[in-house]
């Protein structure tokens, strides 16, 4: 049963991350290359909003806001929307940072051989930026996985809720059950990060330093969801 919950947690996480990537990449690119007015008037306030509001509240707003306008979202969908978009905003910041550290020389060189601005972004800057973005992105993976536990509040039967059911049904030892839940999360975080490191190595380019030394066990970027 806990494994069923774990599977649901993995599904949630995957969908949240996917939605986040779909939002984050274009947002990140726009943030760097879009018009200044868009950045100041739209993107920055959105970032401030999403950094200041708890994911749990965001979930509630989306869930109940949808039913307000006659849209009946399941808890599953509402949590994915809330945390997915939240993650998208964070991911846009990762993408932005990565693009900025690619450096303007690359862009200049691409323009110099006659590429248009958008082609240069597409074929020169983004491939490099994505490599740079991988290490902080694995941190975001861990954050989203952990935050997926909040779907518990909307009745989604993910890992935590399965744990709760087991405790209720069997009058089981709750300390034991939740410790097992914690262990499952830990293993998922650990395995995911190992996997992403493999990906990093797979795509690493000699002389292109995407992974500086001295990284912490779970990624060096400390700004992570809980």
């Amino acid at each position: 049963m806990l494994l069923e919950g774990a599977a649901e947690t993995v599904r949630l996480t995957a969908l949240m991350l996917a939605l986040g990537a779909a939002v984050g990449l274009p947002f990140g690119v726009l943030h760097v290359y879009g018009p200044r007015i868009l950045r100041v008037a739209v993107l920055d306030p959105i970032v401030v909003f999403f950094r200041g509001i708890p994911s749990l509240v965001l979930m509630m707003i989306i869930y109940f806001g949808a039913s307000e306008i006659g849209l009946d979202l399941s808890g599953f969908i509402a949590s994915i929307l809330a945390i997915g978009v939240r993650s998208g905003i964070y991911q846009s910041q990762i993408v932005r940072g990565a693009i900025q550290s690619v450096g303007s020389g690359q862009m200049l060189a691409a323009r110099a051989i006659g590429m248009s601005k958008w082609r240069a972004i597409r074929f020169i800057v983004i491939p490099q930026a994505l490599r740079l973005a991988l290490p902080p992105w694995s941190n975001e993976y861990a954050g989203v996985l952990k935050e997926s536990s909040l779907a518990y509040a909307l009745g989604v039967t993910e890992l935590m809720r399965q744990g709760r059911y087991i405790v209720a049904r069997t009058f089981g030892n709750s300390l034991l059950v939740y410790t097992v839940c914690a262990a499952i999360y830990f293993v998922l975080v650990f395995l995911g990060i190992r996997l992403l490191r493999k990906v990093e190595q797979r795509f690493s380019v000699p002389g292109f330093d995407a992974a500086p030394q001295g990284r912490a066990f779970f990624g060096r970027d400390l700004e992570s969801s809980r």
């Binding site: 708890p54 939740y178 999360y185 066990f217």
Partner: protein, 219 residues
Amino acid sequence: MTSFFEYAIEIAPVLLRGASMTLQIVALAIVLGIALGVLVGLARVYAGRTAYAFCTVYVEAIRGTPLLVQLFLLYFGLPSVGIYISSFWAAVIGMGINSGAYQSEYFRGAIQSIRSGQMLAARSIGMNRRQAIQSIIVPQMLRRALPSWSNELMYMIKYSSLAYMIQTPELMAAAKEMSAQTFRTFETFLLAGLIYLVIVAIVSRALMSLENRIKIPGL
């Protein structure tokens, strides 16, 4: 049905009472977190092998699992071995332990960014290790960690909303309770969200000006 604005004014007292509970939890948790964070951060740089291993297990166990599980373990788990903690203190302790793990990493990073010459110079004027750590390393560490530390405070404010799930009567719980009475759930949570935003904005402004005020040239 009253307008959103009127409704907001009507339920504000209840929500603000919840918010004050939120702030109490955050304040206590952050203090516990600093204490743990400084100790663990220092231990992971300066202490022996056993302490290092012990602290590493703590930090990675916390960072590798959701805060929600940690709160559940404290509040629902501990009673099965006969330890009962009130929901308020479970929230404070849980968030404090959680924050301590993350903060220790800020502090550790800050210590490692201090040039080794500082320790050398301290030892050369006859300070022992403890004195050097205490009066040279720690003050510099605290100042260097300040920016990430104000980040941490934002996180704590936001994640204190999880205390709601272990029945602490803070802001989220107040919003839930009000919406059960008025059935205006969406507006209530929207309002709660705004309150979180305002708290975060005020605190981050305050910390920024504090940072500027105690800034030391070149540090």
